[in-house]
Amino acid sequence: MSTVIVKNINPPSSTNNVLSVSPILRYSGSIIQTVVVRSDTRTTYTSLTSGNGTTVSALNLTIAPRYADSTLVIEWMMNGEIHNDNVFVLHKDGNLITTANYEGYNNQAGNQRWSGYVSAFYDRNEDSTPSNWNIFYSCPAENTTSRTYAPAVRSSTDTQYTFSLNRTLAGLTQDAHESMVSIGIVHEVSA
């Protein structure tokens, strides 16, 4: 690989001041790639009282990092309805993320059923009005293997619940029972 030492870069006038780089230009802080998932699916997931959570697979974000030393910046807007005694944990390839300092739950509480990345809301309505979550997560890529990130839902008590994604618990298509959209994005950011 060759190295050019240069202070200024100027394109020729014929390119309209645009310098084309192929395939990518990599520098610290640059976005290497972006992947988006959008789900309009109105579905339900069972939130179990034990185990590591049920993957909300409709929000799967799959990425194969180009560089092992990149940072992955992930953000979901998730809409749905569930009882307040639930947490959302984070999964990688369908499994709870347990990597030290990047756990998909509170690492001081440990992997208890009440330990999550975010909690459900206490709105005293488990019927016709959804909630809105912003889930923001980042981790080192570590390698260039393709992988899938997703939120997952887990009961925080000894009662099993249902999580309704993009819909209310009670209704699908009627007045005052809102249907929504959920979206996720992952940026690979260069080291």
Partner: protein, 190 residues
């Protein structure tokens, strides 16, 4: 036009300087980014019919440089409204109906209860605002200037008032919180 094949570009100085006006062209590049901060405490009418009322103060204007770019945007909206309302996404004041990028739930269709997010059920519609986070992405499709904004619509047969950055009961007082709302849009080259 010349082509230089090189693995690394280096400099003895802290940065390689690109002449003003010059732009790189590669996938993943953040081509441009704009933010919007709104401190206005205002109200909007949320109708039980139609395609929603644009929350105009939160509009994010952009003129994409590439029709193939991804436009990614987020809003933090602090507000108070009855729980029977939804948020929609408008482009230039109109509900987005482009297949795959609808400003509402495409499976539900453009019904009044279909949005990208819902208001909260907190049983207080007087003195305590809520916070909602919206994320939306769409392909630019053209380089025409446009703006994107959230909109609000009633999800039942009633009409409501939507209060931005203030509670329903007042424009701010002890126990009646006033807030700020923000938005950001990025053009990401594909």
């Amino acid at each position: 036009m010349s082509t230089l094949q090189v693995g690394t570009i280096n400099t003895g100085n802290p940065a390689v300087t690109v002449a003003p006006g010059v732009q790189f062209n590669y996938a993943g590049r953040v081509v441009q980014m704009f933010t919007n901060r709104v401190d206005e405490r205002t109200t909007y009418y949320s109708s039980n019919t139609g395609n929603g009322t644009t929350i105009a103060e939160l509009a994010l204007s952009i003129k994409p440089q590439y029709s193939t770019s991804l436009l990614w945007m987020q809003w933090m909206i602090n507000h108070e409204a009855d729980h029977d309302n939804v948020f929609l996404i408008h482009q230039n004041g109109s509900l987005i109906t482009t297949a795959g990028y609808e400003g509402y739930n495409a499976n539900a269709g453009n019904s009044r209860w279909s949005g990208v997010a819902s208001t909260y059920y907190d049983r207080d519609y007087s003195s305590t605002p809520s916070n909602v986070y919206l994320q939306y992405a769409i392909l630019a499709s053209s380089t025409a200037s446009r703006n994107y904004a959230p909109a609000v619509r009633s999800s039942n047969s009633n009409n409501y008032v939507f209060c931005l950055n203030r509670p329903v009961g007042s424009r701010g007082a002890s126990g009646n919180e006033v807030t700020v709302s923000t938005g950001i849009i990025m053009e990401i080259q594909q």
